[in-house]
């Protein structure tokens, strides 16, 4: 099995450590992984605005880049839900349909395709609140939403429970949207920020040191708010926890403190020096 790794733009540019964690984790799970260098984007940003015309060439490019892989895996429920559920700006050829069906978010790929449940190397002695994104919950059904009267499940939590030392914390509104919503975060700025503040407060109120998510886009928004409000809350992708790092980016000259470029460094929840877990 060869997996084509899709890395969303904001992970590539802002959180490369999450991409590295995803790559290393899949390799640890004995998966052959390739990162096709021609990849750009899945088309979601335009499609979510309703702009099918501008989304089409980007979607086409995605299919051409990934058409020869048995599986396509991305550490983002949001992008994957676009590919699988909404990528219809282009003609639905058998090839397009095949690519859409074969694209998986990391947690569901590990759970449903690889069926792996043990991560003996993983240790994370911190309290975590899981922020499954709306795409993860209501589009990909990685967790059962609280609105639906059915047996609860949470694939993200099931994996994280296997990590040594990790403590899961429950929120009052576990699946309330964080307010990111793509362009919504800037075009509806006041509402978006208010939702984000409430989400961070819910996480913090229950004593979590970290918000862990399947989606860095949500966390980028929540992190921006937390840093502005100067709170101690930290943000981390599920892949980093399951892989055991890296917790900081390679060659990170943004961090002034020496030694923080070590990609295998441990996170420092609630310590004053938090520059290596941004």
């Amino acid at each position: 099995m060869t997996v084509g790794l899709f890395i969303p733009c904001y992970i590539d540019a802002v959180y490369p450590e999450v991409a590295i964690a995803t790559l290393q984790l899949l390799e640890k799970l004995h998966v052959k992984v390739e990162y096709p260098a021609a990849q750009i984007c899945c088309g979601q940003p335009m499609a979510n605005e309703g702009d099918q015309v501008d989304s089409a060439p980007v979607e086409q490019h995605f299919v051409e880049t990934f058409r020869n892989y048995e599986y396509i895996v991305a550490p983002s429920a949001s992008c994957v839900s676009h590919v699988r559920l909404y990528m219809d700006a282009i003609r639905q050829t058998p090839e397009v349909q095949q690519v859409r069906r074969s694209t998986f978010e990391l947690v569901e790929f590990i759970t449903d395709i690889l069926k792996i449940t043990e991560f003996p190397w993983a240790e994370f002695p911190h309290s975590i609140a899981i922020h499954n994104s709306c795409s993860a919950i209501r589009s990909l059904h990685i967790a059962q939403s609280t609105e639906v009267m059915s047996t609860p499940f949470d694939k993200t939590a099931a994996l994280l429970r296997k990590v040594k030392g990790l403590k899961l914390v429950t929120m009052d509104r576990p699946d309330e949207c964080c307010g990111f919503g793509g362009t919504f975060c800037v075009t509806d700025e006041a509402v978006s920020a208010s939702m984000g503040k409430d989400k961070n407060a819910d996480i913090t109120r229950h004593g979590a040191q970290f918000a862990a998510s399947t989606d860095m886009s949500c966390l980028m928004h929540l992190q921006g708010i937390a840093r502005r409000e100067k709170t101690d809350l930290e943000f981390i992708h599920v892949a980093q926890i399951l892989n055991g790092g890296p917790y900081s980016r390679p060659n990170n000259s943004l961090t002034k403190e020496p030694g923080n470029s070590n990609i295998d460094g441990q996170p420092s929840a609630n310590s004053k020096n938090k520059s290596h877990v941004l």
Binding site: I7, C9, D12, A13, V14, P16, E17, A19, E34, Y35, P36, A37, A38, I40, C41, G43, P45, M46, N48, E49, G50, Q52, V53, D54, S55, V58, N68, C134, R138, S145, E147, V148, M149, S150, R173, D175, C177, G181, T183, F184, C185, V186, T187, D188, E189, A190, V191, S194, M195, D198, Q223, G224, I225, R227, R228, R249, P250, N252, S253, L254
Partner: protein
């Protein structure tokens, strides 16, 4: 530029920035309803089957609407009701005015009706010298404050007790500093009672109209529809044609779901069935279209006609809870409003589909399984197709698409992101949007080395299936 177009994000920001009381309280009240709804829904083991069944009953009725409407009319007439048909809001209002004039009515008491709201009936009647008093407390509050209802079920939920104390002080002479709910409620009751007794006609809406019996059902928690329908000798009910259901047996499922979805209570305090006029009275029913048959003919949007007006989508919507129903600038706010309002005026409400984070919660609480979130997405496509995207959206996305379709440009943009001008990822490339990000948020911590570059360095000898 934006003449006549409602900008919900601006109205929402005003509500949020008003003070530190309104928005948190609004959010908490409505969230409490959502939590109660979850509890009540969970108490019915077959809840999800109910949703499916309710959806199918509505779908069936809407696809045989002509038959059920005629059946309803025949049976209602048998009971002695007079049935009128109104194609438009104007026709509806004119029919009401004609009936009132025939009976020399000067004062009307009315219970809640979103349809009458939609038709702009009160201003129309007032223009013709007829005084109308809302009998629902929340609606009365909104009427006194000259505002539209901000929520289908709880019309004044965006107001605090302090707001209401000040409002009542201005209009009915209560103590502006006494915010005790019992005191305010009792004062309004004393003030409204004589108006109720004086009215020569009552108006109601209807929650359901049953074809097999020709009767209709009005659900309230205050019994206010009943006082109206019981006192004056004239009762006029405005019923949207989508309110039809085939049988009384079908009604059971909707009654079990309506109040549980709306407020998380098992049933409304009053569930009144009206079958024909009282002795020495008249009952008029106005079956009103006002755009509904046009909506029924829209392959992508007909589903919104299944709506039973429970407001569950409003309670669960994180955007609605933070912005209030008034931010939608329309009779119908919230998720259901986003998909209904553009069928009434596409241009005016062209920004509404963007007042959503597309979280999808509305779709999952809807008791009749309208895919509200999917329809919001669909409306965005319509707005983009019809070139209704605002300038800021167009610029952002032209730039985005131009960069995204060219890998090298994309890489260049990313490289630029690390420089002194810290650009957001491509989908936020646009200076004005930048400021919006930074108002409450620090900029994302861009990495010096992208994953792309890291991978090229560390995996450069890997074989690729395709590159």
């Amino acid at each position: 530029m934006s003449f006549n177009i409602v900008h919900p994000e601006k109205l929402a920001a005003e509500f949020l920035n008003k003070d530190k009381q309104h928005e948190p309280q609004h959010d908490e009240h409505l969230w409490t309803s959502r939590v109660k709804r979850d509890k009540e829904a969970a108490s019915i083991p077959e809840w999800e089957e109910f949703r499916e069944l309710a959806s199918r009953i509505k779908q069936h009725t809407l696809t045989h609407l002509d038959q059920y409407l005629e059946q309803f009319e025949i049976n209602a007439v048998k009971h002695g009701a007079v049935v009128h048909w109104a194609r438009t809001a104007e026709e509806h209002n004119q029919i009401v005015l004609d009936i009132l004039r025939q009976h020399s009515v000067k004062d009307v008491i009315k219970s809640k009706s979103m349809l009458q709201e939609e038709c702009g009936m009160i201003p129309f009647l007032e223009k013709h010298g007829i005084s109308v008093t809302e009998s629902d407390l929340g609606e009365r509050i909104q009427q006194l404050d000259k505002e539209q209802p901000s929520h289908i079920v709880v019309p004044a939920v965006h107001k605090t007790k302090e707001d209401i104390a000040r409002l009542f002080a201005r209009h009915i002479g209560t103590d502006p500093n006494n915010t005790d709910a019992h005191y305010l409620n009792d004062s309004m009751r004393k003030h409204a009672r004589p108006l109720f007794l004086k009215a020569q006609a009552a108006m109601t809406g209807a929650n359901f109209a049953i074809a097999e019996t020709g009767s209709f059902v009005v659900c309230t928690n205050e019994g206010n529809a009943d006082i109206g329908a019981s006192l004056p000798p004239l009762h006029i009910a405005s019923i949207g044609i989508e309110k039809l259901i085939p049988t009384t047996e079908d009604l059971a499922i909707f009654i079990r779901m309506l109040s549980r979805s709306a407020l998380g209570s098992k049933i409304t305090q009053y569930t009144s069935h009206f079958s024909g006029p009282r002795k020495n009275s008249e009952l008029h029913i106005i079956l009103t279209d006002n755009g509904r048959s046009k909506r029924l003919g829209m392959p992508e949007f007909w589903e919104s006609l299944k709506c039973i007006r429970c407001g569950a989508c409003m309670n669960t919507c994180p955007v609605f809870r933070r912005s209030s129903g008034l931010s939608y600038g329309a009779v119908y706010g919230g998720p259901i409003g986003i998909i209904l309002d553009p069928t009434i005026d596409e241009k005016k409400y062209s920004e509404l589909p963007y007042h959503s984070s597309l979280c999808g919660s509305c779709t999952e609480v809807c008791p009749v399984k309208i895919d509200i979130s999917g329809q919001i997405r669909q409306w965005r496509r319509v707005m983009a197709d019809h070139k209704r995207l605002s300038l800021i959206r167009r610029l952002a996305f032209k730039a985005g698409a131009a960069v995204l379709s060219r890998p090298k440009l994309f890489r260049a943009a990313e490289a630029g992101a690390y420089g002194s001008i810290k650009l957001l990822p491509h989908f936020l490339i646009y200076n004005n949007l930048f400021n919006a990000w930074g108002k409450h948020r620090e900029m994302p911590p861009f990495a010096k080395e992208t994953f792309h570059d890291w991978y090229q360095k560390n995996h450069e000898n890997d074989e690729h299936i395709q590159d």
